[in-house]
């Protein structure tokens, strides 16, 4: 089975700062990967390089065997890579439904003429998109808030909405950037069940950045640890817990759990 994502020898520097250094990772299909490391280790930079926001200084990135190094963000998304952002980026002034509705645009194959003349194909497609957006909202439990303004939702709901929006792309790979950020223990337990349910329902491959260790340990089957832009360890949650250099780099020498 070919890997969903193959990152080889990836490096990225900003001027003199080496943000990522020779990072390689092979993401197998239908698994959940965790990317952990201290603040500033380069985790989000890796996400931004995969999704084409940054151009890598060196190295290649392949998605389902296709070289996507240097692709534009929208091209990567169109191939089937959905993502969320560390500091939630919703379409703030639009309704909850519209946030997902917009992301369904790739399923719409009508042209300008059909739009202007409101031909039957246009109406059919629009209805189909709306149904799809609504069913995604039901999936994340936001169906009753469909008409609310996205920016007015409570924080946890905004996170869920962002995940629903990324699922509208029919993604094969989803990148979650700190989905549990700002959540308390109870909320993050709920989030674990939520992500697992989505993972099973859509046969997803997930790569997530997360600081909540309980979330990472419960969800991820494979974890890569990053420190100063370098991968210092990779393995199953049990292996990672037992690796001394991880405890040193990430937890400052003490293991709280």
């Amino acid at each position: 089975m070919t890997a969903v994502l193959e990152i080889e020898e990836l490096s990225k520097s900003f001027g003199g700062v080496q943000a990522i250094c020779n990072f390689s990772l092979c993401v197998e299909p239908r698994r959940i990967y965790g990317l952990i490391g201290p603040n500033g280790a380069g985790k989000t930079t890796i996400f931004n390089t995969i999704t084409g926001i940054y151009q890598p200084t060196e190295g290649t990135i392949k998605f389902e065997g296709r070289d996507i190094t240097g692709s534009k963000p929208y091209q990567v998304a169109q191939l089937g890579v959905g993502r969320t952002f560390q500091n939630i980026r919703l379409f703030t002034n639009l309704s909850v439904l519209d946030n997902v509705y917009i992301a369904c645009h790739m399923d719409a194959d009508y042209g300008l003429l059909e739009t202007m003349l409101r031909l039957p194909k246009f109406r059919r497609t629009e209805q189909h998109l709306k149904d799809k957006a609504m069913s995604l909202l039901e999936l994340v439990g936001l169906q009753d808030e469909a008409d609310a303004i996205a920016g007015s939702l409570p924080y946890g709901h905004q996170r869920k909405l962002e995940i629903a929006r990324s699922l509208a792309l029919n993604p094969r790979l989803v990148l979650l950037d700190e989905p549990a950020a700002g959540m308390n223990a109870e909320e993050s337990t709920e989030l674990v069940a939520f992500i697992r349910a989505l993972y099973e329902k859509f046969d997803l491959t997930i790569l997530m950045i997360e600081h909540h260790m309980d979330v990472v340990m419960k969800l991820c089957q494979e974890i890569a640890v990053l420190d100063f832009g370098r991968k210092i360890a990779q393995g199953t949650p049990a292996e990672i817990k037992a690796t001394p250099c991880v405890i040193e780099a990430y937890l400052g020498g003490e293991m709280p759990c």
Binding site: Y74, T92, A103, H105, T115, R118, A150, S166
Partner: protein
């Protein structure tokens, strides 16, 4: 109907078409342009020259003017839409002004003295049929994946990219449609006044179009239309106070923008529901302004 009233209605109609274009660009895509008077000039001169010098019938000349504006916006968009916010604004401002100077200095446009003898073909009927087509066109365009993609760019460009929207392509599309609307309005303008000169399409005209959209409320087509009617008629209503009328106009704009920062109808469309809510604000839940950051 007296000539004065029908003249005003024609002026309102022409302005509505030009403002709808800016509304799509600024209100729905959040791209500010000070070049749309330039696109009006392209439409006005192209249509005017075709019909006055080459005897082209009115409707084909009008379409040619609109298409010419669209074509030039496509080229300008390719060059400038990579620029971020303010820089794009400055680039369009430069375009509008240099176009005006260009028109003043070439022969076919009649130079600074203007282009005369354009046949008077713009009637009340032509204008308002145009307005209806323009409104339906804009409404249908915005209520589709195209319009939603533009709003996504307006709200959060990075997220728009992340859901697979080719932001450069859709910004170019918005820019082109706004230019076509401006060119269309320009063609109607030249065949109404029968005489045009570059001064009609100066920077102040572009500013006026943008002010109208902001007053009407960003992201609201109906807001733009209502604001156009108000701001076109306001100077006429104040005509009695002749010397002070532009002062009152300015004060009115400042008041609206300070008292209603989202414009008359920011991010909503006019509906009776909304009017009802406005009259009885206590009943039902009032929409609080969302704060995501």
């Amino acid at each position: 109907m007296s000539g004065y009233v029908s003249g005003l209605l024609i002026l309102v109609g022409i302005n509505i078409i030009a403002v709808l274009g800016v509304s799509i660009l600024t209100g729905f895509t959040r791209l500010f342009s000070f070049g749309n008077a330039g696109f009006m000039a392209i439409g006005a001169y192209t249509a005017g020259i075709l019909s006055s010098r080459f005897g082209v019938p009115f409707i084909p000349a009008l379409i040619a003017g609109a298409l010419m504006a669209g074509l030039i916006s496509l080229a300008l968009g390719k060059l400038t839409l990579g620029l971020k916010g303010d820089y794009f604004l400055i680039a369009t401002l430069g375009f509008g002004e240099s176009l005006r100077v260009l028109i003043e200095n070439i022969e076919i446009t009649g130079g600074a003295r203007g282009l005369a003898n354009i046949p008077p073909r713009t009637t009340l009927l032509v204008v308002w049929v145009s307005v209806v087509i323009a409104i339906i066109g804009a409404w249908n365009f915005l209520h589709s994946k195209y319009g939603r993609n533009l709003m996504a760019i307006r709200e959060q460009e990075m997220a728009a990219d992340a859901v697979g929207i080719d932001t450069a392509k859709f910004k170019t599309l918005a820019f082109m449609i706004s230019a076509i609307y401006a060119g269309w309005a320009g063609g109607l303008f030249s065949h109404y006044y029968t005489f045009i000169s570059p001064i009609s399409f100066a920077l102040s005209k572009s500013a006026e179009l943008t002010i109208t959209v902001v007053v009407g409320g960003l992201g609201s087509l109906t807001g733009s239309i209502i604001a156009t009617i108000l701001l076109t008629l306001l100077p006429e209503l104040l005509r009695a106070a002749s010397v002070y009328r532009m002062l009152f106009y300015g004060i009115a704009v400042v008041l609206i923008v300070t008292l209603r920062p989202n414009g008359l109808l920011g991010y909503r469309e006019f509906s009776w529901e909304w009017i009802k809510r406005l009259i009885a604000p206590k009943s039902g839940s009032s929409i609080e302004k969302g704060d995501a950051s």
